[in-house]
Amino acid sequence: MSPPPVEEPLERRAVISGIGQSAVGRRLGRSDLDLTVEAALDAIADAGLSRDDIDGLSTYPGMGAGTPGFGGPPSPEVQDALGLSLNWHDGGGEGPGQMRAVMAAALAVAAGLARHVLVYRTVTEGTAQGAGGRQGIGGSGGGGGGVPRFGSFMQWSLPFGAVSAANWIAMVGQRRVHEFGLTREQLGQIAVNGRRNAALNPKAIYSDPLSLDDYLAARIITTPLCLFDCDAPCDGSTAVIVSHRDVADDLDHPAVQINALGTALRGRPSWDQFDDMTSMAARDAAASMWERTDLKPGDVDTAQLYDGFSVLTIVWLEALGFCGRGESGPFIEGGGAIARDGLLPLNTAGGQLSGGRLHGFGLIHEACVQLRGEGGERQVVRPGGRVPEVAAVANGGGPIAGTMLLTRGVR
């Protein structure tokens, strides 16, 4: 069921007026607050604003969330560090993917609760996981206290060793092998394409060449996913300024307008209970976005689609209508359609697989870079020499999904 139609989706009153990003690296050894301040000041300056102009603050996922290095600094710490005086503030981990923080900011701006909202997402998972990589469970650090027991949703998967989102997404992938004949040669193009683009992104975590043969020879994590299907934990912070669209003419670069948000979750909010095992919430988020705009999938000049795991990217390709249901395998086969000069330039900064797990916000940043024509060596140029005018961004996977359509300039 769709909400009642509106004359104009109010998110269109919001633009991304500035973007910023800290250093990004495998293990920077800097605090999350330090990285956040770097990204925030970069974004504020990019928008041509001063600290005193910022009257809103929003982040994902907020205080106390997740495993070490996952959450970034809570918004009160950032407010205090930057000396912000706020009319509106928000932080949280529930909602339509990581970009929920941008969505909340856009709605706050549209409602007149704030004029310029600083939105950030910071990770220090590279440093937190240490030189030994991700910590296993139960192997060390027990200290004689015994292994803890689990409640809430994790109790349904942990006893069976379904410990990671990698396992859950692998099951989506295997279902796609079964229903649609997806092959590893097809799926591997997401990683290969990301690596090819990452070579032109100076901040990328991995930029050495990756061939399809390299991909096929990589160690298996959980079938059908191999190492290169899983994103690269890193340290870094990304910030954007969400402002009222009436600032667009004051900027020294094109404003990036939020054309439509995709926020729906019409199936069950669960990995193993969602009705369609091959799509999940991406289906609903994408459908709800297209219900709010006259733009069509064919108008999109570049797509920045969540690739925490490669399978999620192909789910988004279908959900957003860039190819038919079940047709993403043939669509990406050979990699031509998703290359920078292809039909749908995809994850042009390398995505999270090679660019680093900036957790959704790296993709938002890159969409703005491309729409502003500031991609340098990796700038997408559309047929006829055109700079991209419409970008689709998607965050999340499984029962967590959000998407938005961005345009160059206010329409």
Binding site: G138, R149, F160, G161, A166, A170, I221
Partner: protein, 139 residues
């Protein structure tokens, strides 16, 4: 030869609303929460039927038969010391939109097919009976 599961079973807390489920296998029977008003199986368990909103819900025995909806063979050492093991989503025959995350046991990965019939087998770990599944017809 793959293992029946991870080398360490991380166990549920047996909170009041789920204890029946995790201990149901003590007598060899799988039970799911069931709506007495409309007959819907509610999983995970909750205080209300999400279909008809009745609060008249109680555990009910099911056959323990189901089908493999999808699976993965885990190789990563999330739990150090584990040999590869098979994780699956199994649908319950009484209501196939209920799926259990589980392990497939006594079967090799190359013999697993999506759609294959399976039946429940319980593995006791401390005070928990974990519902695992094995191919129908296996001994």
């Amino acid at each position: 030869m793959v293992a029946n599961g991870p080398m360490l079973r991380l166990l549920p807390r047996l909170d009041d609303d789920v204890a029946f489920y995790w201990t149901s296998g003590e007598d060899g029977v799988l039970r799911l929460l069931h709506c007495n008003a409309c007959g819907f199986f509610i999983h995970p368990p909750g205080p209300v039927c999400p279909r008809c909103l009745s609060r008249d819900v109680a555990p009910e025995a099911v056959s323990g038969r189901g089908h493999v909806e999808t699976f993965t063979v885990n190789h990563q050492q999330w739990i150090p010391g584990s040999d590869p093991y098979i994780i699956a989503w199994v649908s319950i025959d009484e209501q196939p939109d209920v799926r259990l995350t589980t392990n497939l046991i006594d079967v090799e990965p190359e013999d697993v097919r999506i759609g294959m019939p399976v039946r429940v087998v319980f593995e006791q770990a401390e005070d928990v009976w974990l519902p695992l599944f094995t191919p129908e017809g296996a001994s």
